[in-house]
Symmetry: C2
Subunit: 171 residues, 2 copies
């Protein structure tokens, strides 16, 4: 295990960083899947707490944010760009017509499947490159604004709303 004994970094360690964050992403994403499999449509339509967002809005919000990941990470175009207006730019009680739960779950799965494909083929060097929302100039000054850091912050964000959705489940 020479790699572990060295004092400086090496490519194996760089891949280790990537694995740590990608695994954290996958864990949170799977936990949302598992919760969705448990919740009835009626539970999803309920508010996480009185007067707060419903499970449907939270699901739409997470799907929209994941869809945005495709773009910001340079993985491709959004699969369901209409979700952003409904579930990110506007609050639940707005005039936008929401997709059905069935349709939302389908978006959720398709978006995550596409992200999953890219997680498998993105190299460690690519993860440490700048994401598409930061300029070359800013990236030179702030090298932590890389793709892996976007995945890290979205992992934390996913967990935040998972905690809320989990309140919809029976004890």
């Amino acid at each position: 295990m020479k790699a572990q004994e060295e004092k400086t970094t090496n490519p194996a360690e760089k891949e280790l960083f990537v694995k740590m964050v990608v695994d954290a992403w996958k864990t949170q994403n799977s936990r949302v899947d598992k919760l969705l499999a448990e919740l009835s449509d009626e539970q999803l339509e309920s508010e996480a707490a009185p007067g707060k967002n419903s499970g449907v809005y939270l699901l739409g919000h997470l799907a929209a944010v994941n869809d945005g990941l495709l773009e910001i990470l340079g993985f491709g175009e959004k699969l369901a760009p209409q979700l952003e207006n409904i579930f990110i730019k506007n609050p639940e009680k707005s005039d936008f017509e929401k997709p059905s739960i069935t349709k939302l779950k389908q978006f959720w799965q398709e978006i995550n499947a596409k992200i999953g494909e890219h997680l498998e083929k993105t190299t460690a060097d690519e993860w440490f490159a700048r994401h598409t929302a930061v300029s070359d100039e800013d990236f030179a000054k702030e090298p932590h604004r890389n793709k892996l850091n976007v995945l890290l912050s979205r992992t934390v964000h996913q967990s935040y709303h998972l905690g809320q959705m989990a309140l919809l489940a029976k004890k």
Copy 2:
């Protein structure tokens, strides 16, 4: 910016990765602080959702988990070991007497201050060393079970319950 152009890793990148995770931790921790400053004692005593954990229990739970971090990361002994039984090993509706909100907030601040001191002085190499709950043998096979990965998973966990506590705030 030679460091960014190299194809293999280097110490600067290792430090960059540590910064990414430590910053994510600090951000979530500060967000809990900010929320605590906003919530009244009455709000903290309320359930996050009907029949679910109260804000007080969630605060105690996060304080207890952070206290455990001191130990698992080798930063020192727990400051308030009594919290584990009350807020981790047992559910809210158990017979344990809970500390007052004032006392819990004090634990929360003291524990985080101690973690903060160690965050400043822990080197990148130390972050990639094994944490105290994994054996040398297991670590050789699973090098991602390092201290930084513990901080990463606790960051995600902190966000999960922050999402729940945020439901106690007024709209």
